[in-house]
């Protein structure tokens, strides 16, 4: 079980969080149909660093952006949604 450092609550067990989706699979309201299909049905499953949307559902309920390495579970960054990482892109 991962240990996720919520920016509001500190280090908390993964059981308190819910994984939502890779950030790149967020579907905007006005998403065009050709862009929608891969986001809905053929999502990438990267091996390595990935930006992901999580929610601290059983904690502060905030939406978080995690930069997680799916290969070894290293979590490089946890940011509030809307926050941008220093020097990075998300």
């Amino acid at each position: 079980m991962l240990l996720i450092h919520c920016p509001h609550c500190g280090p908390r067990a993964q059981a308190e969080f819910v994984f939502e989706r890779p950030l790149e699979s967020i579907i905007q309201i006005d998403e065009a149909l050709p862009d929608l299909i891969p986001k809905l049905y053929s999502r990438v499953n990267p091996k390595g660093p990935s930006w992901e949307l999580w929610r601290h559902t059983y904690g502060c309920q905030s939406w978080l952006k995690l930069h997680r390495d799916t290969h070894n579970h290293t979590i490089h960054a946890v940011l509030e949604i809307g926050q941008t990482p220093e020097g990075g892109d998300a």
Binding site: M1, L2, L3, A13, Q14, V18, E20, I26, I27, Q28, I29, D30, E31, A32, L33, L36, I37, L40, L53, R55, T57, Q61, S62, W63, N72, H73, I81, G82
Partner: protein, 986 residues
């Protein structure tokens, strides 16, 4: 027979405390400190069980958790624990243990005849049988099921307590042998908060078998001093606690046996405890396990691991043989030989597979050479004997086949470091060709390995590696250096070195069909060879085909022997063959401790509506809805569910009914952008809603399917009240949050989940308006789909005029803590007008008749608004969640399943039935909800039919093959009552 093999003194048992217990119904005596295995061995018991596949007689092979053969059931009724190791079960008064896998009794196992047909049960037998004629499998299956299988699961619930605890520490040390203790002392002396977990009931590990002098003290004193020191510095020591799993980010599961298997717990009722420990650094000092060797009959009772023989002698005071043959590839077995000789046993021969020139020169070896028959370059070909034990051994000595009379064969095939946790944590291994051992290489987590688990050889190395690991862990945590500067030192370090020289080749004369690799699953060397010849080259395939290492011991003693056999066949080095995955748990874990407190009523929360007690007084039939418990029906007198529900629904149709709708999802949506926000979530028009008015609405998923339905009310210009289904309320709450925070963070709107802030009563029926106006005054009842406010029973309430039943209806909302008097007044008034309470079952009947859809019924995640006949409600301009996906061509396929109504022509439409055409019986749809016409009677249903809206008038069959029920049905529009909707209005 009573403790005949027990030494008169020595060992860690307390001879002044006799413990009586039963094995297979016979009473035995042992001493405090005995395991079941040591106590029975002391009593001369050799036969402990029958093997899994061939029912071969098996005894005890090991002295610890790695035991593959001596599995027993312990305890009775709900406390019965199957497949537990006799070597890992400390006896207690009243213990009742039974052997397994024999019929009718251990001594007389009629199924042992199976071993006669063993040539017909080769490797991959099950797979091969699958490819044979199916009828043959039927024959085999019956036979195999009766014969094979380990212990039986208990049939009675376990009433004992199991608890989960979380803990945090700087350094977790697993294993309390010399390495673990040294590591814990070093970390602790550096200021680290330490947890030390030991699976045994005493600290000490190998020191419990081989006493030594450490830092000038006897090892017992050193262990006691270490314990005192650790506790004094705030450390936690957990004995009888196994680290079963190593997970991500330094999380380990420790299983603490508070009681022994089958033992009644103390006053706290607790049998086992699961610790979830999050550790900053982990030091694995898990030791090494001795490996058996390949020779025919290596599974007979009386063939034991050399280290185990020494443990039984030194720790438990049991001399397991009188005439002993040892076979080894290392110096450690010489210590066993010397200890046995000192205890009066005759050492018949020590067969050392190493050449004299390659053997070690430990003190033990040199001592043995002077007084015992040592043969270098010698191997064992076969052990001979019966269920009563070994009688002789056939050995290859100086190229000659020699028969040796013996009653015990002590075996050492080298040592495998216990790397399981290291591997679970994602680590890698390195191979030592000389010792034939994998030891930890790279760690992927904040974890190191120390002692024999890291490949250290001898007590000196072990103590030093533990100490260094402890210091390194403390340093990695940024702690100050240790107050103690030097590692614990031992005398006679050289005596403890074993210098294994791995030798995987059995003597050429060996009958490999009787040379067992995996004792628990009965896999022989011949089986592995056969699998290889049949093309199973990958170790993972080999494992599954032969079942090597797949038993409850997960191949602790067998895996490497099997790997080496495969490597030999391949002509490749062992590491290139690969390893199977190390998966938790390290040793078997009871389901009870995994469940912990989460059983029965504690499995999931039970949510009680605020009026729960009020309903309970009516003795309703309850129904779980998600986590909620709601009344399903309020039977009167001797009514059953259906009679009650029919009476209740008839009351709604003809007079008035009252039901509790407090559990609905409810949200306050407030702000200048509230309407804009709701138009993202709701697929219907919201912005044009006038203040004081409401609408039925649909919320879609991103893939265009309907997610939920509800009503949306404009309470004020910038304030809306949104309701959604009870079961989907939590999902809706998350969805609203997602849209608000992720998709539309720019909107000025606040969304509050007020599900439990409001409680509500729904009043429905031709007299519903009269109920409201009698209570709240003339003109207080809003018209259909409008809202109003007013006091009721002195409580401020909100009235929403919405109908689910199809009748004129009102939902009266009051703050949850004030709903009591409101509910009472409404119910009293309704009863006065001839009405009654109605539950979920009546609600279901009424909504089916009216063709109203429900989440989990028609809203099943596969239906679009158009499929549900609600396509016209959607906002044509789009701009809501799910709008884009509706453009997919598949969404407008005319052959999609569409909502239709069904009327029975004959019979009663079965619940959950499928729709098939009368001709050709082609499946074309299904029934989602079956009900009845409340007033006229007759069986009706809602369902989905391919291209259904164009098939009104068709005659189909609704059939439920599992219930063997069917009805002829006519396809009609999905509404059976008040088609014009006149009943809603005044």
């Amino acid at each position: 027979m009573s403790q005949t093999l027990r030494q008169t003194k020595g060992g860690r048992i307390d001879r002044s405390r006799t413990i009586r217990f039963q094995f297979d119904g016979k009473t035995h005596k042992g001493f405090e400190g005995d395991t079941l295995a040591s106590a029975l061995l002391a009593d001369g018991v050799k036969l402990f069980g029958r093997s899994f596949k061939y029912h071969r007689p098996r005894g005890v092979m090991a002295a610890g958790i790695e035991e593959p053969s001596a599995l027993v059931g312990a305890g009775t009724a709900g406390r019965y624990e199957a497949n537990t190791r006799a070597t890992d079960l400390f006896i207690y008064p009243g213990l009742k243990a039974v052997s397994q896998n024999r019929w009718p009794s251990l001594g007389l196992d009629l199924l042992s005849g199976i071993s006669l047909i063993s040539p017909f049960i080769p490797a991959g037998f099950y797979y091969k049988t699958f490819f044979g004629p199916p009828k043959l499998w039927m024959v085999y299956e019956h036979f195999i099921r009766m014969a094979a299988g380990l212990g039986k699961a208990p049939k009675v619930a376990d009433k004992d307590g199991y608890e989960h605890r979380a803990a945090f520490c700087d350094v977790l040390v697993v294993g309390s042998g010399p390495a673990g203790l040294a590591a814990a002392l070093a970390a602790s002396a550096s200021g680290a908060k330490v947890i030390l977990a030991e699976q045994d009931r005493e600290l000490g590990g190998s020191l419990l078998t081989d006493a030594a002098t450490i830092d000038g003290q006897a090892s017992d004193e050193w262990i006691a001093a270490a314990t005192t020191s650790l506790l004094a510095k705030g450390g936690r020591i957990l004995t009888r606690t196994t680290a079963a799993g190593f997970y991500d980010h330094g999380l380990l599961n420790l299983i603490e046996r508070v009681t022994e298997p089958g033992q009644a717990p103390g006053a706290d009722g607790l049998a086992q405890r699961l610790w979830r420990v999050r550790a900053g650094q982990v030091i694995l000092a898990t030791g090494a396990l001795e490996r058996p060797r390949l020779f025919a009959g290596n599974d007979l009772p009386g063939v034991m691991l050399s280290g185990a023989v020494r443990t039984y002698l030194n720790r438990y005071g049991v001399r397991t043989g009188q005439k002993v043959v040892l076979t080894t590839d290392n110096d450690d077995a010489y210590r066993t030989a010397l200890a046995l000789a000192e205890a009066g046993a005759q050492i018949v021969a020590i067969l050392d597979s190493r050449a004299a020139s390659a053997a070690g020169n430990s003190l033990s070896l040199r001592r043995a050479q002077t007084r015992l028959p040592v043969h270098f370059g010698a191997k064992l070909i076969a052990a001979k004997g019966s269920a009563k034990g070994v009688k002789s051994a056939k050995a290859l000595i100086d190229g000659q086949i020699t028969n040796l009379v013996c009653d015990l064969i002590a075996v050492s095939g080298g040592f495998s470091p216990v790397v399981h946790l290291h591997m679970q944590a994602g680590g890698t291994l390195s191979w030592n060709e000389t010792t034939g051992a994998f030891s930890p290489d790279i760690s992927r987590q904040n974890q190191t390995t120390a002692g024999a688990a890291s490949g250290a050889d001898g007590l000196g190395q072990t103590l030093t590696s533990g100490w260094e690991a402890g210091l390194a862990a403390a340093k990695a945590l940024g702690l100050k250096g240790s107050s103690v500067k030097t590692p614990p030192a031992c005398a006679e370090a050289d005596d403890q070195v074993c210098r294994s020289l791995a030798d995987w080749l059995p003597a050429p004369q060996t009958n490999l069909k009787k040379a067992f690799v995996d004792y628990q699953n009965d896999v022989t060397a011949a089986d592995l060879d056969l699998a290889w010849r049949e093309g199973y080259r990958s170790v993972e395939h080999m494992k599954r085909y032969t079942t090597l290492g797949m038993a409850t011991d997960q191949g602790k003693t067998s895996n490497l022997v099997g790997l080496a056999r495969l490597a030999l066949a391949e002509g490749r080095p062992v590491p290139s063959v690969g390893l199977t995955t190390f998966r938790p748990p390290y040793t078997p874990v009871t389901l009870g401790v995994l469940a912990g407190e989460h059983t029965g009523a504690h499995l999931s929360p039970r949510r009680r509506p605020v009026l729960y007690q009020v309903h309970a007084a009516q003795k309703p039939i309850w129904q779980p809805v998600g986590y909620w418990h709601r009344p399903r029906a309020y039977p009167q007198g001797r009514e059953d569910l259906h009679q009650s529900a029919h009476r209740e629904s008839l009351a709604v149709r003809t007079k008035v009914g009252v039901t509790d709708v407090s559990t609905l999802g409810k949200f306050d949506v407030v702000g200048p952008d509230a309407a804009a926000f709701l138009e993202l979530v709701c697929a219907t028009t919201v912005g044009k809603l006038a203040v004081g008015r409401g609408r039925y609405t649909l919320m879609l998923r991103e893939d265009g399917m309907v997610m939920d339905d509800g009503t949306v009310w404009r309470v004020a210009e910038n304030r809306f009240f949104l309701t959604s289904s009870t079961g989907g309320a939590d999902r809706m709450s998350a969805h609203l949050s997602y849209v608000r925070k992720v998709l539309a963070p720019q909107l000025k709107v606040t969304v509050a989940n007020v599900q439990e802030h409001w409680a509500a009563a729904a009043i429905a029926g031709p007299l519903a308006k009269a109920v409201v106006e009698n209570l709240m005054g003339e003109g207080a009842a809003p018209r259909h789909m409008s809202l109003g406010f007013g006091p009721l029973a002195g409580i401020p309430t909100m009235i929403l005029a919405a109908s689910y039943s199809g009748e004129r209806a009102f939902e009266i909302y009051a703050p949850s803590h004030q709903i009591g008097p409101v509910w009472d007044a409404i119910v009293e008034q309704a009863r006065g007008l001839g009405g009654c309470l109605y539950g979920l079952e009546a609600l279901e009947i009424l909504r089916i008749e009216k063709g109203h859809i429900v989440v989990g019924g028609e809203i099943d995640g596969r239906a679009t608004a158009d499929d549900l006949g609600l396509g016209k409600m959607l906002r044509p301009s789009g701009g809501f969640v799910g709008a884009t996906a509706l453009g997919r061509p598949a969404m407008s396929d005319p052959q999609r399943l569409q909502l239709i109504g069904l009327e029975a022509i004959s019979g009663t439409i079965p619940e959950g039935s499928m729709l098939i055409t009368a001709k050709g019986a082609v499946p074309c749809g299904h029934v989602t909800a079956a009900g009845m016409n409340v007033v006229q009677g007759g069986s009706i249903a809602l369902g989905f039919l391919q291209g259904g809206r164009a098939r009104l008038g068709d005659v189909l069959t609704a059939t439920s093959p599992t219930r063997k029920q069917a009805a002829q049905v006519k396809v009609v529009a999905p509404v059976f009552y008040d088609l014009a909707g006149d009943q809603y209005r005044d």
